[in-house]
């Protein structure tokens, strides 16, 4: 059941990314280029997503268990610490350099593997390196 939900959620999420324009680095960089010919349209992606998800998360908060699962995943911390900020800075620089964030990277990999493989390989290498460091330190 959870596998099916996971696949349908991933499929819907990916179709949303493709429809929204988030899969195009041109569009993403145009949105981030506030000092240039700024294209604000991608703000509607985050706006539409949050406005849609907000009531669903609110509904979930009134329940003790999910409709088809054992428990709600609770993020381990609410702390705004140096780790969070430095991670967000590094991610932001990478996002600004190529105009690709993790979701679109995986959708783009299926659309144009030749042009996306280097980014996705490096992204996975970075993810694994950081996870390995964290395990060794913690």
């Amino acid at each position: 059941m959870k596998i099916a939900i996971g696949f349908i959620a991933g499929l819907t999420f990916g179709l949303g990314l493709a429809l929204s324009g988030m899969t195009s680095p041109d569009r993403v960089l145009g949105f981030l280029d506030i000092a240039g010919a700024w294209d604000p349209s991608l703000a509607f992606v985050m706006g539409g997503a949050v406005l849609t998800a907000l009531p669903l998360f609110a509904l979930a908060r009134r329940r003790t268990t999910p409709l088809a699962g054992a428990a709600f995943d609770q993020p381990p911390t609410t702390l705004i610490d140096r780790r969070l900020i430095s991670g967000a800075v590094l991610f932001g620089i990478g996002w600004g350099l190529a105009g690709i964030c993790p979701g679109p990277a995986l959708v783009d990999l299926a659309i144009a593997p030749g042009q996306t493989l280097a980014f996705v390989s490096a992204m996975i290498a970075g993810l694994l390196a950081s996870a390995w460091w964290r395990r060794r330190a913690g």
């Binding site: 429809l19 569009r27 506030i34 985050m46 409709l67 659309i111």
Partner: protein, 139 residues
């Protein structure tokens, strides 16, 4: 062709449905970074691998329907910059424990102050990077 603001809005609604639906039904956060990490190195792997398969299937379906215009601009970034950008995205999202989906869509929808801080910082860092590259001649 949809109105330039309507397609992003409709795409956002689909993303919101997927994120809110995954939480309400399965109790899981649709953060791509965390899902990719779990799919690769665990602990649990099943639904996460299915989610990634769904993302890839969406890419194939979209490519069949609309073609390479979907990834317009991807050819303009040089290979070394692609690798550097990918590394920074992988490192940063693991260290900061989330990206545009986990902190952005899910975090903001959960009204998390921690996620709001992360979104403000990565948006500012990304916009600053684009400014430096496009208008100040860096790189």
């Amino acid at each position: 062709m949809l109105d330039p603001f309507l397609a992003p809005l409709a795409g956002g609604v689909l993303i919101g449905l997927a994120s809110g639906g995954l939480y309400l039904l399965a109790g899981e956060i649709a953060g791509i970074t965390g899902i990719a990490r779990s799919a690769l190195i665990g602990p649990a792997r099943g639904w996460q691998a299915a989610f990634i398969a769904g993302l890839l299937a969406a890419g194939l379906a979209a490519a069949w329907a609309k073609g390479p215009a979907l990834v317009a601009g991807i050819e303009q970034t040089s290979l070394p910059v692609m690798v550097l950008a990918g590394l920074l995205v992988g490192l940063g999202t693991d260290i900061g424990n989330g990206c545009t989906s986990g902190h952005g869509v899910c975090g903001l929808s959960r009204l998390s102050r921690r996620s709001l801080a992360a979104v403000a910082v990565f948006m500012a860092a990304a916009a600053t990077t684009v400014y430096l590259v496009r208008h100040a001649g860096v790189l």
